[in-house]
């Protein structure tokens, strides 16, 4: 019997797979996420664990499957544990961040470059893109930042959850996610369309336009509130 046959049999008959946590092998049920599988093996996450929903970037994971030579990068809470995974968690990335006051800086062509001069060292190797668990085109947004296009950098980096895997792998020591965050902040402050209607509404609130209504709702009991809520205007198909 080949190794693979044994493995497959084990998975089918017993419903278990072998995973390696920091090199040590554990039998865990198949069908668990990497995070749950590690917990099943008896580990308690005090770091490298957060929302468990693929949104916070805490559970950055590097793994290699026994039968492959390449490294893969993912989030522990989003990927199912597979047979032969050699797993390691990356709870923290010590990437330097430029300190700036958004109220004091201007957005000119060189702003991002001035705060993160190392982006000029980008050799276009694309390792960052290959390390991203969110399928973001990381190198592209760094290139956009390099030529002063904060809008494009902000747009391309939108899904970033700041897991830090890109920064750890970069041969030029670029801190991609910090660069992107700066771009998004600059975009929001200087380039995004303004919303004057928000200012109008805020003023209305401050002027007490809605005070009477809010007071009224505060005084209602739960039954009345529920009845009002059920009777509200809403679109067809919207679950109440």
């Amino acid at each position: 019997m080949t190794e693979e046959t044994i493995r497959e049999a084990k998975q089918e008959v017993l419903g278990t797979i072998t995973i390696y946590i920091m090199g040590k092998g554990y039998e865990v049920p198949s069908g668990l996420t990497i995070m749950s599988a590690i917990e099943y093996a008896g580990y308690k996450f005090v770091r490298s664990c957060g929302c468990r929903a693929g949104f916070c970037g805490a559970c950055a994971t590097v793994y290699r499957k026994e039968t492959e030579h390449k490294l893969t990068f993912t989030l522990a809470c989003q990927t199912l544990a597979e047979e032969g995974m050699y797993l390691v968690q990356l709870p923290f990335v010590p990437a330097a961040k430029s300190i700036y006051d958004l109220d004091k800086i201007e957005l000119v062509g060189n702003t991002i470059l001035e705060h993160y001069p190392e982006i000029a060292r980008c050799v276009s190797c694309n390792t960052c893109t290959k390390s991203c668990p969110q399928d973001i085109e990381v190198m592209k947004y760094i290139q956009a930042a390099l030529r002063g296009d904060a809008a494009r950098c902000a747009q391309l980096s939108f899904d970033c959850i700041q897991c830090g895997l890109c920064a750890m792998r970069c041969p030029a020591d670029i801190k991609h996610y910090h660069v992107a965050q700066m771009a998004r902040r600059l975009y929001a402050k200087f380039l995004a369309p303004k919303t004057p209607q928000l200012d109008v509404r805020n003023k209305e609130l401050e002027d007490g336009k809605f005070d009477k209504e809010l007071d009224r709702y505060e005084k209602l009991d739960k039954k009345e509130l529920v009845a009002l809520y059920k009777a509200r205007d809403h679109e067809e198909g919207d679950s109440s």
Binding site: G109, N110, C122, V123, S124, C125, N126, M139, K140, Q143, L146, R147, G148, D149, P171
Partner: protein, 314 residues
Amino acid sequence: MGQSGKSEQKPKAAITYYPGCTMKTSATNYERTALAVAKNLGIELNELDDWNCCGVVATLAKDDLMHQLAPIRNLRRLQEKGEDKVLVLCDMCYNTLRQSEQFIQDNPDKLATINAFFDQEGPYKGGVKVIHFLQYLRDEYTFEKLKKKVEVKLKGLKVVPYYGCMLLRPKGCAIDDQEEPRVLKDLMETLGAEVVDSPYKIECCGSYNTVEQKELVAKRTYRIVKAARDQGGELIVLSCPLCRFNLDERSRLAQEMYPDFVPLPVMYYTQLMALAMNLDPDMLGLEKHYVDPRPLLKKKGFLHTDAAETEMSD
């Protein structure tokens, strides 16, 4: 393309254009004037849709493949789009891309390694021709044809062509004679200007040393600009944004280091072409220069007061 009445509509020459980072930041005036000139000549320059920084300087180490990635990525993108040639404005980008193409032609084994590294991104097969705008104007458009488009002869303007390094060295990249280039001279004479030769026309401006060793560059600025002025030149014309920065912006430091130094205005050939072709003077971007060329141009009658005062916001 529709036919208007009886006049014959010449098909536009279309070519993909690689801008490079500087065209989008400190040399927006060069790009703007180049695109305007091209449009006026019936040349369609289509910016490459997806590009990255060229890498700035061609790597000299034969086993350094990491620094070939940036330029080759751009060449591969061109190939993906079915392009077999690309037009470049920036001399540094021209040189870097051209040298990379030459490198992989000469070293197919190194190309194999690079393609192995690219992996699923896809390989580059080689074969994209890198052309500088000056080359294109001289060889494909021709200066004879250009002469017909000159509406304002730059008569009485004493220009000193300056080449620097990137269009002439190494030999494989040279678009002209390496010791006695003449493309800028011929272009300027086509525009009606009076060309003044300078012995330092192919002297290096100091290039990227302007970042860490400003004084080294300012010393060269002093020497190059002084020689141009001593020969009777009034204006330096060039094609490289880095040279422009070093001969123009670094004049500021040269003035501090050499109290007797009097700078000269420095312009791109495309800005002079735009003037000669009587294009909108508001888009020349002359306010971006440290040594203001406007007083000279006004004195010679090529710029009119009200037009020159308008500042172009980038």
